[in-house]
């Protein structure tokens, strides 16, 4: 009897699990639909009251509508249930279904059950838009040749490309070098934590916030007026004419790069400081016994030991700077030859509605970031192998 019923129960189990999965998906779908629907909460609560037979409250909702706060609460609860509970239920149901597939398929299918949704999301949110951007850059506006020719010949574009190069060179090296210097010096200070805090603090400020702060630092008013900007205040106190930092080419691009360095140095310092502390004390002592000076130790022992961290910090800051937009947008808006690629991209897309040109710029930024990603991944892999 047991032998005859086994396939039957197995099929029934498989069917049940499939049904469960389908039900979960259906409930998730309905939940998402409700979240998109403006009147969703009202209908849900109304439906609930009608279901339990509470005609009084149901009538009240029909006449007066649901209180906005109550509607928001309902939406929030549904979002949590659908978001957290839904994902859990989805995985559980899929897993149960996999259990019933039998040993042969189970091994094949299970990895995909768990990585599949993530892969699908990455494909949908990352791969698809990337491909579409490339496609748009080749088809819209003037087409492939015209769009990329514009990027590499237009006067304003060339200025933006040049500035991005300046940003990458001076912004990245500035942040890493100053961060490294601080990390090394702070290592020997008594109140290390306090000193670090001050340098780390700007990192918690948004780029826009930092740009606004530095707008005031660089603020210019006509000579003879009271200077409210920090730097011009100092200059006029010393008897100099105020300098219009944002308008003086090429000083202005560097004035903006300083803002980025101010923001990123703290990050470089913290990571590098941790790396320096991880250099074994015994190695340093051995070097000292061998008669190496402090500078030589720094160059030949510490730097090679923290190479991995240096690359990580450098590439992270490099990528952040490649995308620089906020600082330029808030301070000069790209005027006075300070424009950068991301700001041009914004203008082409939002102001001029040239999607093709904007996409071409996006593709160029994407291509520019690829070598950096390769270096970074290799570095991570090497560290992974080492540990």
């Amino acid at each position: 009897m047991a032998t005859t019923s086994r396939p039957a129960t197995a099929i029934r189990g498989l069917f049940g699990a499939a049904l469960g999965l389908a039900a979960t998906v259906a409930i998730l779908w309905a939940g998402l639909g409700m979240l998109r629907d403006e009147d969703g909460p009202e209908r849900l609560v109304l439906g609930f009251y009608t279901l339990v037979g509470a005609s009084g409250p149901a009538e009240a909702i029909r006449t007066y509508g649901l209180h906005p706060m109550a509607a928001k609460t309902v939406t929030a609860v549904v979002a949590i249930v659908v978001g957290v509970g839904g994902v859990w239920a989805l995985f559980t149901a899929a897993n149960l279904l996999t259990d019933r597939l039998g040993p042969r398929f189970e091994r094949l299918v299970r990895p995909w059950v768990f990585t599949g949704p993530a892969l699908a999301l990455v494909a949908f949110y990352l791969l698809f838009p990337t491909l579409r951007t490339i496609l748009i850059s080749a088809t819209e506006d003037g087409g492939l040749v015209a769009n990329y020719a514009f990027v590499f010949t237009d006067r304003d574009m060339l200025i933006a490309l040049r500035n991005n190069a300046l940003w990458l060179i001076f912004g990245t090296s500035g942040s890493v070098l100053i961060g490294l210097a601080f990390a090394t010096l702070v290592d020997r200070v008594r109140r290390e934590a306090l000193a670090k805090t001050f340098i780390f603090l700007p990192l918690s400020i948004s780029m826009v916030g930092a740009a606004v702060i530095w707008r005031f630092v660089y603020y210019w008013r006509p000579p003879g007026e009271e200077q409210i900007g920090l730097l011009n205040g100092l200059l006029s106190a010393l008897g100099y004419e105020p300098v219009a930092f944002f308008q003086s080419v090429p000083l202005n691009t560097f004035a903006l790069i300083v803002i980025m360095v101010w923001l990123q140095t703290g990050f470089a310092m913290v990571v590098l400081s941790a790396a320096i502390k991880a250099v074994p004390q015994t190695m340093l002592e051995a070097a000292r016994i061998d008669g190496a000076g402090e500078l030589q130790i720094f160059r030949s022992v510490i730097i090679p030991s923290i190479r991995g961290s240096l690359i990580t910090v450098g590439t992270t800051i490099f990528i952040a700077i490649l995308k620089v937009f906020d600082i330029v947008f808030v301070t000069t808006g790209g005027k006075f030859q300070t424009d950068v690629v991301a700001n041009r991209m914004f203008k082409e897309m939002i102001r001029f509605r040239n999607d093709g040109r904007a996409s071409a710029l996006a593709v160029i930024l994407l291509v520019a970031v690829i070598p950096i990603m390769v270096v970074n991944v290799r570095n991570l892999r090497r560290q992974g192998v080492g540990s």
């Binding site: 007066y64 506006d141 006509p222 219009a244 947008f329 808006g333 001029f352 509605r353 040239n354």
Partner: protein, 472 residues
Amino acid sequence: MRRTRLWALFAAMDLVVAACANAPSETTEPTESPPATEATTTTTAPSGDDTTTTSAAPEGPYEELARAMAGEYAGTEVEVLGQWLEAEADNFKASLQPFIDATGIEVRYEGITDYETVLTTRVDGGNAPDLAQLAQPGLMRTFAAEGKLVPLSGWFNTDQLAEDYIQSFIDLGSYEGELYGIFFKGDIKSIVWYPVQAFADNGYEVPTTWEELIALSDQIIADGNGNPWCISIEHGDASGWVATDWLEDILLRTAPVEIYDQWVNHEIPFDHPEVLEAAEYMRQIWFTDGYVYGGNVGINATWVGDTQTPMFDSEGPKCWMHKQAAWIPAFWPEGTEPGVDSAFFYFPPIEEEYGKPVLGGGDQFVMFDDRPEVRALLQYLATPEAAKPWIEAGGFVSPNRSVPLDWYTTYPNDELAQILQSADVFRFDASDQMPAEVGAGTFWSGMVDWVAQDGEGTEEIFRRIEESWPTS
């Protein structure tokens, strides 16, 4: 609470109207409004302010509006997006209120900073509002070319429009012969603000010709009274538009209006000799040593809202004349009053033969979703009644010429209406009509560069703008 009760009333009205309107289905408006008034009298009004519904109900030239006034669309919603914030948003909402009260249509207005960005993003994302305010005819044309806008012909009473608006406003709302936009708010740029009391104290007289304007500027310098002009153009990524306004205003005064129109439509090159000549006139004021407060660096560094602040300095004006539209008093320092501390004169003509031109701007409404209640609101915005609340609040000039002049009682609107009346030519801001790459791109940035070079290299700058004009 009150609103829901009002809704109930309109719902009841709706039924009555529907019953009455059943027999003659496609009749003209006048026969439909009597049932509406009847309906309100038969329904007992639960609260006092509901009686307003009886008074408004105009037969009117617009079908959907008349139906809306009869309560046919009560309970529906219309979403309106615009860039008017704070006081201006309140004034606009006041203009919408009679419509809301009379029709029971709920109109949700949202004012947004960074407006063009948000609007284009929402339109691209398929999430456009029902109606949107647009200050740039160029953006309207872009949307129209992309097929995003609802054409108005066929259902909008164009005879009435032709009666209410001068042709140039109808042209500005059209794209390739099809009407898309209705102008609601007008703006006059050809005015120059000056300190009234200080002018009187120094015996300065309001100039009426270009020569007098220059003579007065020299006089102010000779008297040791500081710089004659307050000029600045810094406005984030929109910097430069003040300069384009100047150039356009001068071009209207130094060349035939046909040249201006051809220039806007790129039928002549951007760096046409007439345009370069206008630029020379502009240089005379902008880049003559000592003319402008803060010099060329100041022009590029000072935010447009702060341009006039030195005029109100406690030790007397540091600059004396500021050419800017009538909204600028909102940005003056606290405690200053338009008409008292500073008034305006008409930016004087240059060459007599071109008369007294007026450069202006304006806001139009365009429609993204074709529903009867949206049609009704757009039609309402084309009526003088829609402009009345804002006119009464001040700071508003309606492009609708059926608006009675005696509605304007406050300064500066009465003066502005005067200038508009005596104008020989009215032209819309050229940069707002050019393709965005130029009008909000290279034209603006070119002016910034020109100022940065202290007015040098004019031809080179104008040639670069010409080269940036999109070919397609």
